[in-house]
């Protein structure tokens, strides 16, 4: 079955899975998991260089920016100003202008501060960034972000790192139905079936980190997620059967031996 390309801004991707690079044992394991996941877009965080330990390896030595679309995030930012500053610095590293805008509103839930996210997105879009905002599963918030010019919207499925799966599939469906930009479920996926559900709902992609990095065998889970994303997408395109309350026999009702 023919699928349309997964397009974000100017770029097209084959894989609909976006993976994070946090919480791995080391960069070698990060690279193996990323490769096994088949992801072409990988998120990274922006942090101060470690001045005292200069011999330290750099993440980009393990994930070639020529091969992967590096997606810097603004994780840890609580205000629009901090997030904008982080994006400007990230762009100057020289791996493009695609950013994951994430402005946290609360330390315990890590839910996004939506008004601050909208404020920052306006400025970043004007400055030429390809903005992918992490947002609540709120169709109106997603609509506003799309109107501003965000290249995609990334509603959460459940709190970051919670592994609770898609808590509100109906909202996700509404967001998918109304959106003209890609909808990427970001955060909350716990296992492969969660990723498949997101894709079956019609999402264009899924972004995850903890579900892979925190698995007992991250490399095997990375593969499971790749397959789940493919299976879920294919099922969505194939068109599932209607849900019925009562049975509908699969075998002919005629010609029974008698």
């Amino acid at each position: 079955m023919q699928d349309t390309p997964f397009r974000i801004g100017e770029r097209s991707f084959k894989s609909r899975l976006i993976v994070g690079t946090g919480k791995y044992r080391d960069f070698a394991e990060t690279r193996r998991a990323v490769e096994e996941s088949g992801a072409e877009i990988v998120t990274v965080a922006v942090r101060r260089v470690n001045i005292t330990d200069r011999g330290k390896e750099n993440l980009l030595d393990f994930l070639d920016p020529a091969k992967f679309q590096i997606l810097p995030n603004t994780a840890g930012c609580y205000t629009a100003e901090e997030a904008i500053r982080t994006c400007r610095l990230a762009r100057e590293v020289g791996v493009g202008a695609m950013v994951k805008l994430e402005i946290i509103g609360d330390q315990k839930t890590l839910f996004p501060d939506v008004p601050a996210t909208i404020e920052a997105a306006k400025i970043l879009v004007k400055e030429g960034f390809t903005v992918l905002p992490y947002v609540t599963d709120d169709p109106i918030a997603c609509k506003r972000l799309e109107e501003i010019g965000c290249a995609a919207v990334m509603p959460l499925a459940a709190p970051i790192g919670s592994g609770l799966g898609i808590r509100n599939p109906y909202n996700i469906r509404i967001i998918v139905e109304q959106a003209k930009v890609p909808v990427i479920v970001d955060a909350g996926v716990g296992t492969a079936s969660d990723a498949a559900v997101a894709m079956e709902l019609g999402c264009d992609g899924v972004l995850m980190n903890s579900a892979i990095a925190g698995a007992k065998d991250p490399i095997a889970m990375a593969r499971a997620m790749r397959l789940a994303i493919e299976a879920g997408r294919l099922a969505y395109l194939a068109g599932r059967i209607e849900r019925k309350l009562y049975a509908s026999a699969s075998s002919p009702l005629t010609g029974l031996i008698g």
Partner: protein, 73 residues
């Protein structure tokens, strides 16, 4: 009375950093053994484009931030 000296002290990633000799930003980056394609620099709150690393001269008391990418989701 301050002594005439070629050394300055800047705030580098929140810590005092004494620079002796060449006060250009590019010299500091080289001394710290950092690859240009892996980092970005902010000087007193403003991003410094890579093309300007050679020409920017650091001054005593400058606030410098040098960032790179680390694992994150």
């Amino acid at each position: 009375m301050s002594q005439v000296s070629s050394s300055i002290t800047v705030q580098l990633n929140g810590e005092p950093c004494r620079i002796e000799g060449d006060p250009r930003l590019a010299a500091l980056i080289e001394k710290l053994n950092m690859k240009r394609g892996r980092i970005a620099v902010e000087l007193n709150g403003e991003v410094v484009p890579k093309a300007e690393h050679d020409s920017v001269v650091l001054r005593d008391g400058d606030r410098l931030e040098i960032i790179n990418f680390v694992g994150g989701g």
